[in-house]
């Protein structure tokens, strides 16, 4: 078992002929992922890293049985790429592309959801389950098979923490980088139930940051529905207010959305909240050790 990706995940890479698409196709394959097809309009018949390229996702699905996509196409074309994937029957869509207008993402989210498809991202590092598959760009080197689940709104900070878990001799069940954009396809509260029901996950690591109220929403969920131990870290305690967060956010958040409110919410929901990223692996190791003693 794992979350969202399994050994049977067959990935099509949209935008495979671009630099990032090509580099990460090789990396995904090196991770052991079945990358079965690439799509770049006009490039049908070519190959990238040994992967056949098609003009359309529908062709890729028909010819290769692809069931997940990793989208690298530039922001102005990302909405179209997602719609194409969903209409071709793809039900797991990882969007690496950054700078997609949130208005586009509102459309993409509704469209995918109405058809039972899951979007992870945009502007995210994707999903990896060591020993099974990776759909995205998280560096292969940080992983080791294990029983710690990781969900994160951050990219590189995730790598940092996942790597720390590995360096503490532990490993990960599945790691999902949710992306830090205002509108994401999968949020903490969407991902937590998947880990709750994943028999391969014992401990949960949650990496959040300031802005929005996704961590507060997650805390509500954890309090009522999540039974596994949670270690959390919130980045941005020192960020100056208002430099990034707009007025709009403030109206909606109504006094939530700061590092302090997120930390308080998570702690009151029973999570252990680290003050520094390097404390996370220690806390996880302590929990694992105490569970082993029971």
């Amino acid at each position: 078992m794992s979350v969202l990706v399994t050994e049977t995940t067959r990935v099509v890479v949209q935008g495979i002929t671009g630099h990032q698409g090509t580099v990460h196709t090789a990396q995904m394959k090196a991770f052991g992922t079945q990358v079965v097809a690439g799509v770049t309009p006009g490039k049908a018949g070519t190959e990238v890293e040994g992967v056949p390229v098609f003009d359309a996702v529908r062709d890729a699905v028909e010819k290769t049985g692809a069931n997940a996509t990793c989208i690298f196409v530039p922001a102005p074309f990302a909405k179209d790429a997602l719609l194409e994937a969903v209409d071709a029957g793809i039900r797991l869509c990882v969007i690496v592309t950054e700078h997609i207008p949130f208005h586009d993402m509102l459309v993409m989210y509704r469209y995918a959801r109405a058809r039972g498809a899951v979007i992870v991202g945009p502007n995210c590092p994707g999903i990896a389950s060591p020993g099974r598959a990776k759909v995205g760009i998280i560096p292969n080197v940080v992983f080791r098979p294990g029983r710690v689940g990781v969900i994160s709104r951050s990219g590189t900070l995730t790598y940092e923490i996942v790597n720390g878990i590995k360096e503490h001799g532990l490993g990960q069940s599945t790691c999902i980088g949710l992306g830090g954009d205002p509108v994401v396809g999968t949020s903490f509260v969407d991902a937590l139930p998947l880990f709750e029901s994943d028999p391969d996950t014992d401990v949960m690591v949650m990496v959040g940051e300031i802005g929005g109220t996704a961590e507060e929403d997650a805390a509500d969920y954890i309090r009522h529905h999540f039974t596994k131990p949670v270690v959390a870290y919130i980045a941005g305690r020192s960020a100056p207010p208002g430099k990034r967060m707009g007025h709009a956010g403030a109206i909606i958040a109504r006094g939530r959305g700061t590092a302090a409110t997120k930390v308080a919410a998570l702690e009151s929901a029973g999570a252990r909240v680290a003050r520094f990223p390097y404390e996370v692996p220690n806390m996880v190791a302590e929990i694992v050790a105490s569970r082993a003693r029971r």
């Binding site: 630099h19 990032q20 580099v23 922001a75 102005p76 950054e98 700078h99 997609i100 207008p101 949130f102 208005h103 509102l106 459309v107 989210y109 509704r110 590092p125 760009i137 998280i138 560096p139 080197v141 940080v142 994160s152 709104r153 951050s154 990219g155 590189t156 900070l157 995730t158 790598y159 940092e160 790597n163 830090g180 205002p182 509108v183 994401v184 949020s187 940051e209 300031i210 929005g212 109220t213 996704a214 929403d217 870290y233 980045a235 941005g236 020192s238 960020a239 100056p240 707009g246 007025h247 709009a248 956010g249 403030a250 109206i251 909606i252 109504r254 003050r275 520094f276 990223p277 390097y278």
Partner: protein, 377 residues
């Protein structure tokens, strides 16, 4: 995030059929006097500094004038003011109106709902953050099919508008929704939305346009924001660069890691002065440019904290070494590096050859840079 000045927001309101007072924006006292004298602005008029910060009324950035000469004086008094860190360069002159009720209406993004929300309150004219939750009505709007008639009717009931005024609100909300979508706005706020002589009038505007949609809206590229000159250069080079109060420069990649690095430095007694997020670059020239920009900000010490994913460690190291050779001797500063992730070994080797040691532990490396900057870890 492009925050539009009041007059620009009102120009959009007009474009989308939303009622605004007649007015003129000026950049000199002469111009103000001339336009008022020519009858282009009704008298008496309001003279308002075009700054983005709130609280203009109490802060002396709004004045009144009953004649062309008074308009001149009021404009002269406001232009050039430093208002909460913003210099006043533009002034809006508008006919003064007899304000009846003051209402609040906005369309904003609710991240948790992943939907725009229509927010309405009968208590307008004050900061909406100060209004009690119970006095604010929120309705999520589905982008498909867009704002509906029944949502607009509910807003009218919340605002206690009936008859003609309900009809005017209906049209205004349709306009606001069109604006929100077509202009790729993050926020369309009308506060106060006033009842004036039995009609609705948008007396202020707050419109924020999303940065990521810039490819659809070249017209907003020219609008200056509240950035420092170096931040402006960084923006043109597509580097996230923010100046703070301290003396340590931080170069990291990814918003989360950058914020976490600042958190650690502050906790250890350091004072971050600039932060620069390389993002997911894979181009050594961009690293070089970023480093030279950092040098211009004259930090006491610099902390390079990279976890390579899309970005490869050797790329960063190569760009960094190239930049170091271009910084003049007089501007040099202590550099503490920590590079991890993809091609970590190659990157560390390149740095070592240039005389820079990478400290793999985050806490240890952060302590080193705080010490180098003269702090007491």
């Amino acid at each position: 995030m492009v925050k539009l000045a009041e007059w620009r927001g009102k120009a959009l309101f007009r474009k989308y059929g939303m009622p605004v007072p007649s007015g003129q924006v000026v950049r000199s006292a002469d111009e103000a006097e001339r336009l008022v004298a020519a009858g282009s602005v009704p008298l008496p008029c309001v003279v308002k500094a075009q700054v983005l910060a709130g609280g203009r009324g109490k802060g002396g950035a709004v004045r009144f004038a009953g004649s062309a000469a008074e308009a001149r004086d009021a404009t002269a008094a406001i232009l050039g003011l430093d208002f909460k860190g913003e210099k006043v360069r533009e002034v809006l002159l508008e006919g003064k109106v007899a304000i009846g009720r003051e209402l609040y209406v906005s369309i904003a993004l609710d991240r948790s709902l992943r939907a725009p929300v229509l927010i309405a309150s009968g208590q307008g004219g004050v900061e909406i953050e100060t209004v009690a939750d119970g006095a604010i009505d929120r309705q999520p709007i589905d982008p498909f099919p867009g704002i509906t008639g029944y949502e607009r009717r509910r807003a009218a009931r919340v605002l206690q508008l009936t008859g003609t005024l309900a009809g005017e609100l209906d049209a205004l909300l349709r306009g606001a929704w069109s604006l929100f979508q077509a202009e790729d706005a993050e926020l369309v706020e009308i506060n106060p939305l006033a009842v004036v002589d039995g009609h609705l009038l948008a007396l202020d505007s707050k419109v924020i346009i999303e940065d990521d949609a810039a490819f659809r809206h070249p017209e907003y590229a020219e609008i200056q924001d509240d950035r420092t000159p170096l931040e402006e250069i960084a923006r043109e080079k597509d580097i996230a660069f923010v100046q703070l109060d301290g003396n340590i420069g931080v170069i990291a990649n990814g918003a989360g890691l950058t914020m976490a690095t600042l958190d650690v430095l502050l906790e250890l007694g350091g004072r971050p002065g600039v932060f620069l997020d390389l993002g997911g670059t894979d181009d050594p020239r961009k690293v070089t440019e970023a480093f030279l920009l950092m040098a211009q900000a004259r930090p006491t010490a610099v902390f390079l904290n990279i976890f390579g994913g899309v970005t490869r460690c050797d790329t960063v190291a190569t760009g960094l070494v190239a930049a170091m050779q271009q910084v003049p001797e007089s501007n040099r500063f202590p550099l503490v590096a920590r590079i991890r992730g993809n091609n970590e070994r190659e990157g560390i080797e390149i740095l070592r050859a240039a005389g820079v040691t990478s400290i793999p532990d985050l806490r240890a490396s952060a302590e080193a840079v705080v010490a180098a900057a003269g702090g007491t870890p």
